[in-house]
């Protein structure tokens, strides 16, 4: 088999889709991930393709179990996203989605920092067009902020890579571990893309502003590339355990009070990535397996939830919880599929989230992190609450908004159905997924204690929701903006800059005024002396000059003799 990097297939297809007629383009769009997947399957495991550019050794294709599982995942995600977007007659979005998926594949198969950096930045640029394509003012400004933050992440990655290159003389991307200055830079670069706390706001800012189909692509690739990069470079870094624990907990509070349902999903995405980050931080075989399995499942169930909310937005033009409700009456299929996604993210037994999240929880217990374990348990209950109940409840049930929109186009239903089927398949037969994981799996998800305790946790969370809702304690959905870390760069810093520039211009005004006054005084005095009537401009009689010369001579003679 020819060793053809996956990104090449996607990039070439993107160019062809840009020029081919619509129908042919659709066929090509659909077949790209299929062909890519087949070629990927044929590649030899544990191999690498190396290119020599001047003195540098670049590795555009490194196949090992860790990169391979992400490779398969991204092909599946690209296929699902393409099916979901097939009704579109927007060539620009089709092309950028292919380039975006190709860049994600390029990044996970990159064996060196330079290749990784290239695809890291390509991910940022290509995905931004999926935000701009919404063509609203909000999307435009959110897209610009998104690009700036993503490019900063890329620059940090490049800087870190160069520092490491200076020290070790190698660009190879393997385990890094925290310690040196270069590694900290790379850690931050990965952290931005992975939505670490305080670096997370680009995600909740930009994803809900992207197009209906764009958000589905966005939710699949960028953050999962970052999860892969962390698993490759920083597995076993203890700081990640605590960072991940914070990531699982703080977004759920925001998710409860957020009105835009796609933004609720964006917050819940950070929460799910938190579980993966904890797993990577622990670094044991079970933990890393769990993190990667959870990334795999998350792409599919989060994609499904984003699709169902996308379908609602597509049909009703609304996405705020306060404007929706009662849609199950006219969109029963979408409702059912959304509930499958909700059950999967909530980790109901027999749905996909359960078989992967429980691995991470188990690994946390094995490593005796009691507090982190409690935090993850709290986050598990919380995710059921906001993603499992809130999303379907406020969109499809709850207060009847009176909207009776039809089911979405058939391609959207197909994409959602395949995703839902995968959620149930992996959830009921997890060994399909386990066989792809980088380490041997001896874990059995369906033991009685796990199933019972998880069901108890979920059922009583549901009772809590029902009780809060009936008693009127549950906060109503309100049209609002909740300030988050982005307030720092959208409000605080601009305000500081405004104050500083205001002060500078005030000082400048005062200085200018003083200068003007002193200028005037100087000019007046010059005018007095040299002006048409000035003493020095007068015509002097010759006699008086001779007299003065005589006086001066006399004075100098006198001084000479003294």
């Amino acid at each position: 088999m020819i060793e053809l990097p996956s990104f090449v297939i996607f990039y070439v297809a993107a160019i062809l889709v840009a020029v081919l007629p619509h129908r042919l383009g659709q066929v090509l769009l659909l077949s790209t991930p299929v062909i890519g997947g087949i070629i990927l399957h044929g590649l030899t495991a544990d191999s690498a393709l190396e290119w020599r550019v001047m003195q540098l050794v670049l590795t555009p294709l490194r196949i090992d179990p860790l990169s391979l599982i992400f490779g398969y995942l991204f092909h599946i995600a690209a296929f699902l996203g393409i099916v979901f977007a097939l009704h579109l007659r927007d060539r620009w979005q089709s092309v950028t989605s292919l380039l975006y998926a190709g860049s994600a594949l390029g990044a996970v198969f990159a064996g060196d920092f330079l290749t990784l950096f290239f695809f890291w930045e390509m991910l940022a640029l290509t995905s931004a067009f999926l935000i701009f394509a919404r063509k609203t003012e909000r999307a435009r400004s959110a897209g610009i902020r998104y690009v700036i933050i993503q490019v900063i992440s890329g620059v940090l990655l490049l800087a870190g890579a160069l520092v490491i290159y200076r020290q070790t003389g190698s660009l190879a991307f393997n385990h890094i571990g925290l310690g040196t200055f270069g590694s900290v830079l790379i850690f931050l670069a990965f952290g931005i893309k992975c939505a670490f706390p305080l670096l997370h706001n680009w995600l909740t800012d930009a994803y809900p502003e992207a197009t209906v189909t764009g958000t589905v692509f966005l939710s699949a690739f960028t953050t999962k590339v970052a999860v892969y990069a962390l698993a490759r470079g920083f597995a076993g870094t203890e700081a990640l355990v605590y960072i991940g624990a914070v990531m699982t907990c703080f977004p759920i509070f925001y998710a409860v009070i957020e009105n835009d349902l796609r933004r609720v999903l964006a917050y819940s995405m950070i929460n799910q990535i938190g579980f993966m980050v904890v797993g990577i931080g622990l670094g044991t075989a079970l933990a890393v397996n769990g993190a990667i399995a959870h990334a795999f499942n998350d792409v599919i169930f989060k994609g499904l939830l984003m699709m169902s909310m996308g379908a609602v937005l597509f049909r009703t033009g609304r996405i705020n919880g306060s404007d929706l409700g009662g849609l199950h009456k006219s969109m029963p299929i979408t409702t059912t599929l959304c509930i499958v996604g909700a059950a999967s993210i909530s980790a109901f037994p027999l749905f996909s989230g359960f078989v992967s999240k429980s691995m991470v929880m188990m690994a946390v217990l094995e490593e005796n992190h009691s507090i982190v374990w409690l935090a993850l348990l709290f986050a598990s209950a919380g995710v059921f609450h906001h993603a499992g109940i809130k999303i379907p409840f406020f969109a499809f049930f709850g207060h009847d908004s009176g909207i009776r929109s039809p089911e979405p186009p058939v391609n959207m239903l197909i994409a959602m159905s395949i995703s839902a089927a995968l959620c149930v398949l992996i959830g009921s037969y997890p060994w399909l997924l386990y066989s792809l994981l980088p380490f041997e799996v001896s874990y059995t998800p369906f033991d009685r204690s796990h199933v019972l305790s998880q069901l108890q946790l979920l059922a009583f969370s549901a009772v809590a929701f029902a009780w809060l809702k009936i008693s009127g304690l549950y906060p109503p959905e309100l049209r609002s903006t909740n300030i988050d870390a982005e307030w720092l760069y959208r409000r605080f810093v601009p305000c500081i800059i405004r104050v500083i520039t205001g002060e500078i211009s005030r000082v400048r005004d005062v200085v200018m005024k003083l200068l003007r006054v002193s200028n005037k005084t100087i000019m007046n005095s010059v005018f007095r002396h040299y002006g048409p009537k000035g003493t020095l401009a007068r015509t002097w009689p010759t006699g008086s000059m001779v007299l003065w010369v005589a006086v001066l001579l006399a004075a100098s003679l006198l001084l000479y003799y003294l």
Binding site: E366, F378, Q456, Y474
Partner: protein, 83 residues
């Protein structure tokens, strides 16, 4: 346009769903008594640990989030109005 009544339009059906949930919860609670749960952490051994944790963590989550609104909530066009 008259619309036929949907399942959840009838209060009786909503009640039925809620009662089903309560019955399931009671069964799960009883299951904690009967079934031996294998324990990996001492805290798990407390009777009804997951039951109580599930319920109270959700209540605490929502009540704290509700209080957070007082500090965090701004009008919908908060950023646009001053950009």
């Amino acid at each position: 346009m008259s619309e036929h009544k949907h399942f959840f339009d009838k209060v009786r059906n909503v009640r039925a769903v809620l009662w089903t949930l309560f019955v399931v919860c009671v069964l799960l609670f009883v299951a904690d008594l009967i079934l031996e749960r294998h324990v990996d952490h001492p805290w798990e051994a407390f009777f009804g640990f997951y039951v109580l944790f599930g319920f109270f963590s959700c209540v605490v989550l929502v009540l704290i989030a509700k209080q957070m609104r007082k500090v965090l909530m701004r009008k919908e066009n908060y950023y646009e109005d001053n950009d």
